[in-house]
């Protein structure tokens, strides 16, 4: 320790330590320099990008969904502005759950909404508001605004929501929109067309998808989703760390979705729905020349507005469990044996294939025996001598039992197929069912077991009167009637007539031309038309159509729901849901058909009494402009 005691050595040591300290300082400063060089030169690009993405946020501007109007311009599906409570998570520094709990004291927020929000918002510092509650009432908005200062980052924002102005009216054809699910997002991402964009990226595509809050789930809303949706716009903004927007850097306007003009006449739809009252059923009215569907009725209906912001589970359960099946799209998905409404087509088949002439008569004893089975006619003692016209007008079963036997199931199948029976019509909403147009081929494929799949000749007989395996949708029946009225020219049936670009007002027809033409002889068509006119003049529906100033070609039908074994049918004695379905097909005016109709009144009993009056009143409205008595006057919603 000598050096401590000698002042000179001690001073030298101090000076040495000063030099070492200076070296230490220099090394440390060099270390800092190296760090700066690393950050500012080598990693500059990375941090520069990070700084840009810090500063710039892209806020999406949702596109306005296209309007849906009826053929006369009545708006059926529009957009209403409503307040929604949104939370911008970027600027929030306390637990979201706490904020939501406090918000719940001011504004009703269901636990389901809360959970969903927390799931979406978790781990996201979004500069875009995430909605927690839509459709705030005026009171709730006022209550929130008064307490706003307590909730930085929470806003009541005006948003557009889908609105179905007539509620339950036409809900099955319009369908509805619902909230976009995670699965939908993946689907949407693949659908986004960004070929028009200056630059495209996954990120941008994701933003576009983010701008879509609702999408069509069913009906026209679903099938024309891409048309209605529009293109999400962007606003590129500079933001602070707290998510506050400082200024707008650039913006790309959203492009509103295309407007749809329906083929449907909403007043006609309204009348028919009203005429059904509480009865269940389906009705389709088609304009034969164009394939325009003027009415597409499914009863009972439901209110699509309930689905827009997510249907509540009680209502969903109620709708689903109801024996009336209000969510079931009957004209599209319900299949029924056509019953006697099949007879005009059978008759036409007989004429076209040469199996019968119009004037050939048969003797009807009231039953038909085949292979040991007896097929009954509903006139117990028969209709006597029956020619083709009478067979239709009086709905003689025996005539058609014989005809079916003479034609065979495959010839019937081949003739009926182009009329669309048992075929997909190609209507512009999804979910259509095919039904069954029987043939030996069909049966072989239908039953796996070859023994069961073998066609039994006796099965052909009831095919002739529209029973047996026959099962078609009302849409198919209406389409076939329309083809008949249109003398073989097939137009694809469609609910949407025009697609309109809201910016250029350019309109495009959805079905501009015929699909194909069935070669039919005019004289044969005349025979069938006249026979169908006779139905309403002297036949099964003559009472209903008594005194019409125009001519209606029609045919009643009754489809069995419940097969009665050797028992007499007594409508009042069996439960409502097991009663026969009442069917009716018609076109009018018979000489120059403008309207073709098919309808079923489920469990309505006999076609002439339950189904035909609806057609009469609908046609009176369409042709004479006569408003049916008992139906409340139409009022435009606003």
């Amino acid at each position: 320790m000598a050096n401590f005691k000698d002042p000179q050595t001690s001073l030298d040591d101090f000076h040495q330590r000063i030099r070492i300290a200076l070296i230490f300082v220099s090394v440390c400063m060099a270390l800092l320099f190296a760090r700066f060089f690393w950050l500012q030169v080598i990693k500059h690009h990375k941090y520069s990008t990070a700084s840009e993405s810090n500063r710039i946020a892209i806020i999406t501007t949702p596109a306005l969904r296209g309007l849906i109007t009826d053929r006369n311009g009545v708006v059926l599906a529009g957009n209403i502005s409503a307040f929604s409570l949104e939370i911008t998570t970027a600027g929030i520094d306390r637990p979201l759950e706490e904020i939501v709990d406090e918000l719940q004291k001011i504004v009703y927020i269901s636990d389901k909404d809360k959970q969903q929000f927390l799931k979406t918002a978790k781990n996201s510092k979004s500069t875009e508001g995430i909605p927690i509650r839509n459709f705030l009432t005026d009171q709730e908005v006022a209550r929130f605004l008064a307490q706003r200062f307590r909730f930085p980052g929470v806003e009541a924002k005006g948003r557009y929501f889908r609105n179905y102005l007539y509620g339950e009216l036409g809900s099955h054809l319009l369908g509805y929109v619902g909230k976009v699910s995670q699965k939908d997002r993946e689907q949407l991402a693949s659908e986004i067309d960004d070929s028009q964009d200056e630059f495209s990226s996954d990120e941008l595509r994701a933003m576009r998808v983010k701008g879509i809050q609702h999408m069509g789930k069913i009906g026209i809303e679903q099938s024309y989703e891409k048309q209605l949706r529009g293109v999400t716009g962007f606003n590129e903004v500079e933001i602070t760390a707290g998510g506050r927007v400082v200024r707008s850097l650039s913006s790309t306007a959203s492009i509103p979705g295309n407007n749809l003009t329906l083929a449907v006449d909403i007043k006609l739809q309204y009348i028919i729905e009203q005429l059904y009252g509480n009865r269940r059923g389906a009705a389709v009215v088609i304009e034969p020349a164009t394939g325009d569907i003027l009415a597409f009725v499914s009863k009972p209906t439901f209110d699509p507005n309930a689905f827009v912001d997510g249907i509540d589970s009680d209502l969903w359960k109620k709708l689903n469990d109801s024996p009336e099946k209000p969510l079931f799209n009957r004209p599209l998905r319900g299949v029924y044996p056509p019953g006697s409404t099949y007879k005009p087509f059978m008759a036409l088949a007989a004429l076209e294939t040469g199996k019968r002439t119009a004037t050939q008569t048969i003797a009807d004893p009231g039953f038909f025996k085949f292979g040991g089975n007896t097929f009954r006619d509903d006139a117990k003692n028969g209709h006597g001598m029956v020619d083709m016209k009478l067979s239709i007008a009086a709905s003689c079963d025996t005539y058609y039992y014989m005809l079916a036997r003479d034609m065979g199931v495959n010839a019937i199948h081949d003739f009926m197929k182009p009329f669309g029976f048992g075929q997909l019509s190609g209507i512009d909403i999804a979910g259509e069912v095919r039904g069954i147009l029987p043939s030996t081929e069909w049966k072989k494929n239908y039953f796996k077991d070859p023994a069961k799949g073998k066609w039994i000749e006796g099965e052909t007989i009831s095919i002739g009167i529209g029973q047996g395996y026959n099962s078609f949708s009302i849409l198919q029946l209406a389409q076939a009637t329309s083809i008949l009225a249109n003398r073989g020219v097939v137009m694809k049936p469609h609910l949407v007539k025009l697609i309109e670009d809201p910016l250029t007002h350019e309109k495009t027809l959805t079905v501009p031309s015929e699909s194909y033409k069935i070669p039919l002889k005019n004289e044969n068509l005349d025979v069938i038309t006249n026979a169908m006119i006779e139905v309403n003049r002297s036949g099964t529906a003559s009472q209903v159509f008594n005194g019409t100033p125009y001519q209606v070609a029609g045919k009643t039908g009754t489809a069995q729901v419940f097969s009665l074994k050797s028992q007499t049918y007594n409508a009042s004695a069996i439960s409502e849901f097991k009663r026969d379905h009442a069917l009716y097909i018609a076109f009018a005016p018979a000489d120059k058909p403008k309207y073709a109709i098919a309808l079923v009144v489920e469990n309505g009993g006999f076609g002439a009494s339950a189904a035909a009056p609806i057609v009469r009143q609908a046609l009176d409205y369409l042709i004479l402009g006569q408003w049916p008595s008992g139906v409340p006057q139409w009022k435009n919603a606003q």
């Binding site: 000063i18 520069s48 760390a241």
Partner: protein
């Protein structure tokens, strides 16, 4: 010196400040003000406040530079003693703000730990001065006790930043006083190994349920987020990530004065105080950083030079310790802002906004000036 005695005495009496040190100081203050103007735009902090603080700091500097080091030597024990008493008082009835007990209300609210930054090197320099010529190894032990008592009191508040600075200030005196290398080297070796181990095993020791002895959980968190800022990008790591982005995005030449987006869009926390360097670095780039580093290195070099030339052991040790404290401030601050060191509350000398820090720094610079000035007077 003999050639122009009158002019020389005149300047010593009327100004007497070391021109090199003063010039470098002005350079730093200039950089600080330029940056402060940018950092404070759009906030409630006014440039006038900073100007007032600077004026006050310069006044203290000037006055201190007049005080003969002898007086400081005499005041050392009293100042240290008062500091320890106040620290004990803080521990007993101090005010609690933001979870830390650092302040004492004696009519005005004071932060006694701040006094220790100067009192500590003064005390130890005084002690070694007294033992000059008869220094024993156990003297370093006694010095260590003087050092650890206030340091632990401050660390308990808790105030890790100040504790580190106070500890460093004392440690510099002890080392400069001749602490044998055999005591120093093992610590350096252990330190280096510890840093390497922390970097390698960072993931394991930063696991959630691992507690560190003697270290508070928030301090552990700081170290862990330093090792991996992305482990908590929205919380504690946010500051570091954002300041690193600011520095990195500045590039070679910077974004230009007042054009730092990280700063002006509020991504930088404490942007006019502890994190002001991020603002400077973003706007002036690597070139600006080099200028600043050079200013600091020259300042420290000049300070060490003054210490080396100082006439007494007390002034030598005090001068060296104060200079090295300036260095520690600068290094720790720039190190933490650039993500090299954990985030501790240490300002960038003469650049960060804040009255207390400026007073302390003014005092420190004043002492350096005084040592320099009185060396001349003594020599003459």
């Amino acid at each position: 010196m003999e050639k122009r005695p009158i002019k020389h005495y005149f300047s010593l009496i009327w100004f007497g400040l070391d021109p090199t040190l003063a010039l470098l100081l002005l350079g730093l203050v200039f950089v600080g003000n330029i940056t402060f103007l940018s950092a404070s735009s759009g906030t409630v902090v006014s440039w006038l406040d900073q100007a007032r603080n600077l004026l006050m700091a310069f006044a203290i500097l000037w006055i201190t530079s007049r005080i003969p080091p002898k007086w400081l030597e005499k005041a050392a024990v009293w100042l240290y003693g008062a500091g320890v008493v106040l620290l004990i008082a803080v521990a007993m009835f101090g005010l609690i703000k933001k979870g830390a007990r650092r302040w004492l209300n004696i009519g005005i609210v004071i932060q006694p730990s701040e006094i220790m930054k100067i009192a500590m090197p003064m005390m130890l320099a005084w002690y070694f001065q007294r033992r000059e010529g008869m220094l024993k190894v156990w003297d370093f032990g006694i010095a260590l006790i003087f050092l650890l008592l206030p340091t632990l009191l401050i660390a308990r508040q808790p105030d890790l930043g100040t504790a580190i600075l106070v500890f460093a200030a004392g440690l510099y005196v002890i080392i400069m006083a001749g602490l044998p290398w055999r005591f120093i080297l093992p610590f350096i070796v252990i330190g280096v190994i510890a840093i390497i181990l922390i970097i390698i095993f960072g993931d394991t020791i930063c696991a959630k349920d691992v507690t560190w002895p003697l270290i508070k959980s928030y301090q552990k968190h700081r170290v862990c987020t330093l090792l991996d800022p992305s482990s908590d990008p929205l919380g504690k790591g946010f500051h570091t990530i954002q300041s690193m982005i600011a520095i990195g995005s500045g590039g070679l030449f910077g974004k230009g004065w007042l054009k730092g987006t990280q700063t002006h869009l509020e991504f930088i926390p404490e942007k006019h105080t502890d994190f002001i360097f991020a603002v400077y670095s973003e706007e002036f780039g690597l070139i600006g950083n080099i200028v600043l580093l050079v200013l600091f290195v020259l300042f420290i070099k000049r300070g060490l030079q003054i210490a080396a030339e100082a006439p007494t052991l007390f002034t030598r040790l005090l001068g060296a310790a104060i200079t090295l404290i300036f260095f520690t401030y600068a290094f720790v601050n720039m190190g933490m802002v650039s993500g090299l060191l954990p985030v501790v509350g240490v300002p960038l000398p003469f650049i960060s906004y804040g009255g207390t820090a400026l007073v302390t720094l003014g005092l420190g610079a004043g002492i350096l000036m005084s040592i320099h000035r009185h060396k001349r007077l003594v020599q003459s």
